[in-house]
Amino acid sequence: MAIIEVKSLSKEFKVKVKEKGIKGSIKSIFNPNYNIINAVNNISFSVQEGEIIAFIGPNGAGKSTTIKMLTGILYPSNGTISVMGINPSKQRKKLAYNIGTVFGQKEQLWMHLTPYDNFKFFGAIYDLNDNQIEKKIEEYSKVFDLGKFINTPVRNLSLGQRIRCEIVASLIHEPKILFLDEPTIGLDPVVKENIRELIKKMNKEYNTTIFLTSHDIGDIEKLCKRVIIINNGKIILDDTMRKLKYNYLNKKIIEVRTKRKVNLHGSEEYTILKNVDNCLKIEIDTTKSNVMDIIKQIDEDEIIDINISNIPLENIITEIYKK
């Protein structure tokens, strides 16, 4: 059953256009011109209960605008949204009891309070009694390993610790859906990995549906089974990660280290990416040629080391963005 259902959703913003200089400023007072920006343009998709979905796209693609409409922050210009059967624009409070949000770029916690006091405050916002709040704090404190800093003011925590607390604060009322808008922004690789593990755990243990936006390919690759790519306000791809890799991983990278420099020239079947210091790097289009045919062109006695790899997912997604 679809837990999120979006049909023909659009959001327009009216932006004032001003000509250059002081003349332009004066003119814009008496005769203002406006541009209509279609931040989200007629998109439709659905999300199943328990899914972890990546909603990605370049800057200004419409990701945050969409997530803000799904959470009731922005009103859509057109189209319909149903989140657990609730219309976010009309039943904002009812929706809020069922969803959690973490905006990586925006602080929800009170900086001068400890995580413990923050959780008590957020628990009270969701009408939980003291016993329920204490129980939840104890449970999440173990899952998210908050023990060491639960009584330290938030302003003194590291970014990674703070994001963990942000996630706990948004989970205190056991939401069915968690919206994560760039939750790993600015974090180091170890902390990123921790956060990803926690998100996975949450999905597994509480069957929480996760709706994730991120620019970090690691988040998408390691967490999500499905990806929606949005660009210029339109959905340009909605597929499983497996199909995405299968359809787009038709290029291989061969890196060969040889005793002497190899004389190979590019062709329609392959491209030489690098050929310096006895190291050769070739990109092969497997729809036109196969890996072995290319390797056979190199004298096997000359080969010291060889490595065959897929094109990084990041490159694939960049290619899709460019389309």
Binding site: I73, F103, K106, E107, W110
Partner: protein
């Protein structure tokens, strides 16, 4: 409905408690802020003392009565800024997209926003109001009326600020208008209503509605009457309805933003 109101009040009080706690983190700053605000307000007595040396009354009011007016202006301002400080910063919150975290919570957005921050020097204003009441002559009845009118006036001041700041939902630079109205209201609040002509009075009960926030509470304090009492309550209710109506209408126009911000 009643239960929901009870829960909202509980959260708002908790929020105010936390924001006051934040302001009290630094003891020295806290105490000096409060004391200097009391001294700042007290310094204005001197100009009135000079004036009353020349004249017996100003607009029919004695020195004590003018100082009581000051006490009410200070007390109402204190209530407004101590409990609803963000009402005065609302335009910046709207323009910078800082309402997001309040919208995703299952509580009233406007109440949650305005009670999320306190201005601790406003405690000095409030204390000054009660010092003035002591000087005017305190009785239990006067204490109760003074507290009541301060709460009503404080709510009205915050609401007027919310109304003007809410224009930011439609016009980006409306914060200037909000700030101007707040300052103008404060200026007019410290002068007796009786010195103004009818045309000015009309402005003081409409565009710059200091009449509702200071003059009506002041009249009630001078002479308590049931009619005036209910008029003040009705004024608070009507202005409240108008405030929530305008804010909620504007909220539909809210466009958020992706600025990096912290709640500090």
């Amino acid at each position: 409905m009643l239960m929901e109101v009870k829960k909202q009040i509980k959260i708002s009080l908790l929020s105010i408690k936390y924001s006051i706690m934040m302001q009290m983190l630094n003891k020295v700053t806290f105490i000096t802020n409060v004391i200097f605000m009391i001294l700042n307000n007290a310094s204005f007595i001197i100009q009135w003392m000079v004036l009353f040396n020349i004249k017996d009354n100003v607009g029919g009011l004695s020195f004590k009565q003018v100082i009581l007016l000051w006490g009410i202006a200070s007390g109402t301002y204190g209530i407004a800024h101590l409990f609803f400080e963000e009402a005065f910063n609302l335009s910046k919150l709207i323009v910078n997209g800082k309402l997001d975290s309040f919208i995703v919570q299952p509580k009233n957005v406007l109440i949650s926003v305005v009670t999320s921050r306190s201005k601790i020097s406003a405690l000095g204003d409030l204390i000054y109001g009660y010092i003035v009441l002591l000087f005017y002559g305190i009785t239990i009845k006067r204490f109760i009326i003074f507290t009541f009118v301060n709460i009503c006036g404080g709510i009205i001041i915050a609401e007027i600020s919310i109304i003007y700041n809410s224009f930011c939902f439609w016009f980006v630079k409306a914060d200037i208008l909000g700030d101007t109205i707040n300052n103008t209201m404060l200026n007019f609040a410290t002068y007796p209503e009786t010195i103004f002509k009818k045309s000015v009075k009309l402005i003081l009960y409409t565009i710059i509605p200091v009449g509702f926030s200071t003059y009506m509470p002041f009249k009630l304090m001078l002479k308590f009457g049931i009619r005036e009492f209910f008029l003040l309550i009705i004024s608070v209710l009507i202005i409240s309805l108008l405030t929530f109506g305008i804010f909620n209408k504007g909220l539909k126009k809210y466009s958020s933003s992706n600025l990096m911000v912290s709640r500090i």
